[in-house]
Subunit: 357 residues, 2 copies
Amino acid sequence: MRDLNNLTVAVVGATGAVGREMLSTLAERAFPVKNLLALASSRSAGESVEFGDTSVTVQELTAAALNGVDIALFSAGGSVSAEFGPIAAEAGAVVIDNSSHFRMHEHVPLVVPEVNGQEVVAALQKRVQQIGPRAGAIIANPNCSTIQLVVVLKPLLDSAGLKRVVVSTYQSVSGAGQKGIEELWEQTLAVFNQQEMPKNVFPHPIAFNVLPQIDSFTDNGYTKEEMKVINESRKILAQPDLKITATAVRVPVFSCHAESVNVETARPLSPEDARELLMRSPGIIVLDNPGEMEYPLSSELAGTDATFVGRLRRDESVENGLNMWVVADNLRKGAALNAVQIAEIVLDHWGRESRSH
Amino acid sequence: MRDLNNLTVAVVGATGAVGREMLSTLAERAFPVKNLLALASSRSAGESVEFGDTSVTVQELTAAALNGVDIALFSAGGSVSAEFGPIAAEAGAVVIDNSSHFRMHEHVPLVVPEVNGQEVVAALQKRVQQIGPRAGAIIANPNCSTIQLVVVLKPLLDSAGLKRVVVSTYQSVSGAGQKGIEELWEQTLAVFNQQEMPKNVFPHPIAFNVLPQIDSFTDNGYTKEEMKVINESRKILAQPDLKITATAVRVPVFSCHAESVNVETARPLSPEDARELLMRSPGIIVLDNPGEMEYPLSSELAGTDATFVGRLRRDESVENGLNMWVVADNLRKGAALNAVQIAEIVLDHWGRESRSH
């Protein structure tokens, strides 16, 4: 059993853009952390990061550092997760991993709490049965663009079925981490100063440009980012044959990903009914008042928790077609917040387990 | 008959972003202008504009100023076209109008030379039959986002039929004219200087943001820009029932519109065959080499004439589905160049007419 009054929580990759957001989200939501470990590579060890009102010294990530951890939030890249995720889980931690490494593993749940939060509890129960009361586990946190999409698709699926989805994204540079934010800033300054643009993060200049490439290309002409949206959406929604296609585009925006989403539902669903449905669905705020020029804007939604939907309208080009515009903060709902929400499910489950014994 | 050695060409709205581009395009393409009239509102009269190596003084647009004009390129907004377009045509000018005012008029051809250039000649012949040898006419130049879309759709239509088109745009601020360019520039500077952003042109800040609104909203929840893409594409392609939907989005880019285009063809067309087809189609350059991270980029294509296509790939979510990324300079192919290309068809027709007499 876990001692819920004495929880040790580790954030792995604590100095990155998502890691910092994980720390602030844990603090904001008053997650009952007794011992907070901020872990990172040896390069960042010794730095300080903020956790609520306190400052925490970053320690080097080692196997030994993961001993005694109850919950480990990983956001340090796929290779770090591949190496240290299983070590942490073996040592009894529930690993909530923001990298893509485990997402498509058959036995790892890929979770968006509003959509398939119950899979967390099922996975924990199974591990406890197999291993014992302090069994660890690995739970994967999906791709940022996928999370906000499936939050909106889930109620449509449940209410009217999904026949086909076509999504084009408008993704902010913070999706590439702190260094992505810096590159947009520095390139923009270079344009103003008529200097050569620094170019380290993105494949082409992002300042005053749009890039139809996020991550590298796969053999079928899609980028890995596009295939993540396709494959992860299918897994999270438990619709392995979902008809969905994606074009992922980087835009010169600091925070929030926007998506132009075209949906064909299997059964009729009017825009009015879809709006009502989305308004009462978890994690969604409908901002849709064209007369007042009100719709979700990336510039206004940084730091928010919900997935925002607007521009909801009938697509007359197909039976049961809907168009909409979906925006969320990619560092929060798209990463840190979703991970912490998963941690809250874990905590809630442990709480119920301990009360029932 | 026209004296082709003594052509008078007027550019109405000569001081605007598109008007200036019309002047430079006429000069670059060595259009045989004998007398060039730069016309604008009384506010701009007296200013100078560049025409090739010469400087031309802007005159006030009046009915009298349009007397004796052979070809008038209008880009001064819908109300100016509504008032002075018919006056110019009545006085014998072939009006090529870049405003939206006449585009959907039943008897006004809406022309993209690569797609339906033959409609120009048909319209001129009909007017000459009705009125006489020096008959004027009005020909409409389509919306910028529409032009680059139909250039690409036309060969697909001819080769494999079009079942449905879903387009999401990434449109530059120059689509809103010189003042749009200035607003992006000034707002970006204001962000750097931590000052209040000036906001005169766009409904919300455009610096470091994406706006899912271009032009005002219509009753069906679509913007006018989106309805232009839908309705004008149908007219130009002569497919009044074409299944097409659009989401038009402004991005903080100075020049070029990009489009994420999803096409279902009626008959099978492989990405390889589509690529071959587009490579040999007029006005199109295929830039599609993902291995080299090569695809059309807004930042690199300002000042170019072609419509560029890349990211061409199979959409597996539907039978005969294709995804592609389409970029063109909205001030050139999307406006000035297309208008001058129409003028070249007019000139060519007059040349053939005069040689046959």
